[in-house]
């Protein structure tokens, strides 16, 4: 029987408008804004000054501390300024603004598309190169990859899990990447297996992408230890914990990490970046971004340089339609609504979704009728209705007892609620307060 995760989940309409479209490289725009905080952890320290000439692939900001990531220039040109710019969070954050003047790359990067299968670096050298190249998880959370690859003492990795699920409606960037860069992803998987010193890897893909499953299964058949597993479509299967539960039947313990059950998980896009970092010596300066929406004239998958503005992407997909109400960085379930189109694409941007104003509002919330649908759909086994009312009443200690910190913010509860209650809004508030309380307790 075809597998999926057992607890909760919903089935939003898939709307994969750009599913059959290939990846189109987007021409360089005139300027780019490259934030130094594109990842979970400490922002990188800027190494360039106004007026400096930079080349594509050049290190322009270096990681500060272990949980941080290097930032490289995605184009060649002149640094206009280093200043704070509004990013996808809606806040002003430090970034490097570069005037694009051609595309001159630094030496040592192999720009050919030829497939290189063999690699000889040791595990430590591989992890180091991945760190040098500024790799972070490209599924959205943008956690620095070298941190995940460094298995803590006392823990042992047993499985590498590759996330090709792409359960968010509308998004197709991983799907397109698998179809175009399948062999590279398999090599990337082997690299990660070696870095982690594991001999088993599982690639999970939902069965709404039969072409990708078939293609990768064929490619993996020649490889030892790599299996491709088709999964029944259900949101949020792309959540790390849900994916591990679906593939291996193991539950990451509350408050724990996948490594606690012997698993390290990477997104398919990250695996391709790993391939390029190791085999081509190429830092993470571009990624595939789905630009989509029912009102857009040509929803597409673009290969985009980091720092390109959302405005540029939308223009390439046919321009911002009249009556646009919302532009979302990411998918409709977990993405962030943008307040400006000047926001740049960063390492974690998997898609840009344009929604018409008719779909941008919310229904008016009414009384909770205790239908328990939020409990039924919660993939973490929580009680969203209870967490909301506890957060509303500011009973944050009880929120903590009811495991509010386990919430993965997938939005299934708010999506389902027949009373249209803003469950996740209040749960986020509660999580925020609880994490402050927890931090205060530690100090």
């Amino acid at each position: 029987m075809i597998k999926t995760f057992t607890m909760g989940g919903v089935h939003p309409r898939e709307n994969k408008l750009s599913a059959k479209k290939g990846i189109i490289p987007l021409p360089l725009s005139s300027t780019v804004i490259i934030p130094v905080s594109q990842h979970t952890g400490a922002p990188a320290r800027i190494l360039v000054n106004k007026g400096d000439k930079v080349r594509t692939g050049q290190l322009i900001a270096e990681a500060t501390g272990f949980v941080s990531a290097n930032i490289h220039s995605s184009c060649s040109g002149t640094v206009l300024k280093t200043d704070s710019f509004i990013d996808s969070t809606g806040y002003r954050r430090m970034a490097v603004n570069i005037q694009v003047e051609g595309d001159e790359w630094i030496e040592g990067i192999n720009r050919s598309t030829e497939l290189i299968k063999d690699f000889s670096l040791s595990s430590g050298e591989l992890i180091n190169r991945i760190k040098e190249c500024g790799l972070v998880g490209m599924g959205g959370a943008a956690f620095p990859s070298h941190v995940k690859l460094t298995v803590p003492q006392g823990k042992k990795a047993e499985y590498l899990v590759i996330n090709g699920v792409e359960c968010e409606p509308y998004l197709t960037s991983d799907h397109a990447l698998i179809l175009e860069k399948g062999p590279e992803i398999i090599v990337g998987t082997r690299i990660l297996m070696k870095a982690l010193q594991v001999n088993k890897a599982i690639i999970g893909i939902e069965n709404n992408k039969p072409d990708a499953i078939e293609y990768l299964t064929g490619l993996a058949a020649m490889e030892k230890g790599i299996t491709v597993m088709a999964l029944k479509v259900k949101y949020p299967q792309g959540g790390e914990k849900q994916l591990i539960s679906a593939l291996l039947g193991r539950q990451v313990p509350s408050g724990g990490l996948p490594i606690d059950v012997g698993v390290v998980a990477f997104n398919a896009g990250t695996v391709f970046a790993v391939y390029e970092a190791i085999q081509k010596n190429k830092p993470l300066i571009e990624r595939v971004v789905t630009v989509t929406g029912k009102s857009l004239s040509s929803p597409s998958n673009f290969l985009v340089r980091i720092g390109t503005s959302v405005q540029t992407l939308i223009e390439a997909a046919g321009g911002l339609p009249e009556e646009t109400g919302k532009v979302i960085n990411g998918g409709p379930m977990m993405g962030k609504a943008l307040n400006s189109l000047e926001v740049p694409v960063i390492k974690g941007t998997s898609g840009i979704l344009v929604l018409p104003s008719s779909e941008s509002g919310r229904n008016t919330p009414v009384n909770c009728i205790r239908c328990a649908k939020c409990i039924g759909v919660c993939p973490m086994g929580l009680e969203p209705y209870l967490l909301m009312s506890l957060a509303e009443k500011e009973l944050f200690e009880r929120c903590e007892d009811e495991k509010i910190m386990d919430c993965i913010e997938c939005g299934s509860c708010s999506y389902t609620c027949p009373s249209s209650r803003p469950l996740l809004d209040y749960i986020r508030l509660g999580k925020n307060k609880v994490s402050l309380i927890m931090r205060a307790r530690k100090n």
Binding site: V10, P253, G256, E323, L338, L341, V366, I369, R370
Partner: protein, 330 residues
């Protein structure tokens, strides 16, 4: 450039709503309504119509003039309460009593607590019990099926459950009592005396399948109640077949189907976690059988549901869903 809306995720909604759910329940009740009209004719139409209309009207009047809130009388919940109230009344009940029951259901059962979502007890059952205690004679005279054009003047008789309890009180053996009862097939089809909407087990089951398919309810409460009643009555019957009626008889008579499928599953008054639902349902099953076999009343479903409604907050407090990652991995 247009102004962009900024809000937190999720940005899409299932478009499930209270009216959609409530009208789904009403749709699920239509087969049973049709069968009941077939058996009880004009009386069924009169009490159903008056109950639904008066429930909606009372909801509107109370919200508008007493609570001074925006009336939500058309969200379908008042109509469901009206339908369910009518379904558990005899079809020859005078209209004024039906209206009184509706006022008790909506006024006392629902609005005093703050309206939909806040009532601890099932409003329709509050209405029914109110009538049952206030007008015991009228509430226990059930018309014979098949008198389409009779309403208040319909010839009445005893329900299978009251026949059973009277005969048992006179020390008559089950085997003898059962010879005078309708066959299992007749019970399944609803050819018996009883409250207007509770008789047709098959039509109520069709509604159950519909509600499960539309995901309005889950199987936990209705199936557990039916299973509990079956197991409990079967073991009693096995222990003493001459003193306790067979399990199928219990399943198909009285308000069990109606109660298990439509009343015990009321969102507001039933537990939230799946495990809690099972406890609640087992409780209803056991109390129903206890009242039917050892209590003074021939039928106990409504009391069983109301009693377990009272336990719902406690169950919600102590019975939690299984959290993800709670189990230690081997």
């Amino acid at each position: 450039m247009s102004i962009l809306t900024v809000s937190l995720s999720p940005h899409i909604h299932s478009q499930e709503s209270i009216p959609r759910l409530m009208y789904g329940v009403i749709l699920a009740l239509l087969p049973a309504l049709a069968v009941s009209v077939f058996y009880f004719g004009i009386g069924m139409l009169i009490i159903t119509g008056s109950a639904v209309l008066s429930c909606i009207t009372f909801e509107y009047l109370i919200q508008k003039y007493l609570l001074k809130t925006k009336p939500s009388h058309l969200d379908g919940s008042a109509a469901v309460t009206g339908l369910l109230l009518a379904f558990c009344l005899p079809s020859n009940l005078p209209v004024w009593m039906v209206i009184t029951g509706s006022l008790a259901a909506i006024g006392i059962g629902k609005m005093t607590f703050g309206g939909l979502g806040n009532n601890p007890f099932n409003p329709a059952l509050v209405g029914r019990v109110f009538l049952f205690i206030s007008f015991p004679a009228a509430m226990t005279s059930y018309p014979e099926p098949g008198q389409w054009l009779s309403y208040l003047d319909a010839a009445t008789g005893a329900t299978p459950l009251s026949t059973l309890s009277e005969n048992l009180a006179n020390n008559i053996k089950i085997s003898e009592i059962m010879t005078g009862m309708p066959s299992v097939l007749d019970l399944f089809l609803g050819k018996m005396l009883g409250s207007s909407g509770e008789v047709a087990a098959f039509a109520l089951l069709i509604g159950l399948i519909f509600m499960l398919w539309r995901k309005i309810i889950t199987w936990h409460i209705p199936l557990t109640i039916l299973l509990t009643v079956f197991i409990f009555t079967a073991s009693l019957n096995l222990a003493n077949p001459e003193k306790f009626a067979p399990p199928l008889f219990h399943l198909l008579t009285g308000g069990l189907m109606l109660g298990a499928i439509y009343m015990a599953t009321d969102y507001v008054t039933s537990p939230m976690a799946r495990k809690g639902m099972l406890i609640y349902a087992v409780g209803i099953g056991i109390i129903t059988v206890l009242i039917r076999t050892f209590g003074a009343y021939p039928e106990g479903v409504q009391f069983a549901i109301l009693i377990m409604n009272g336990f719902t907050p406690l169950i919600n407090k102590y019975v939690k869903p299984k959290r993800f990652g709670e189990v230690k991995n081997g």
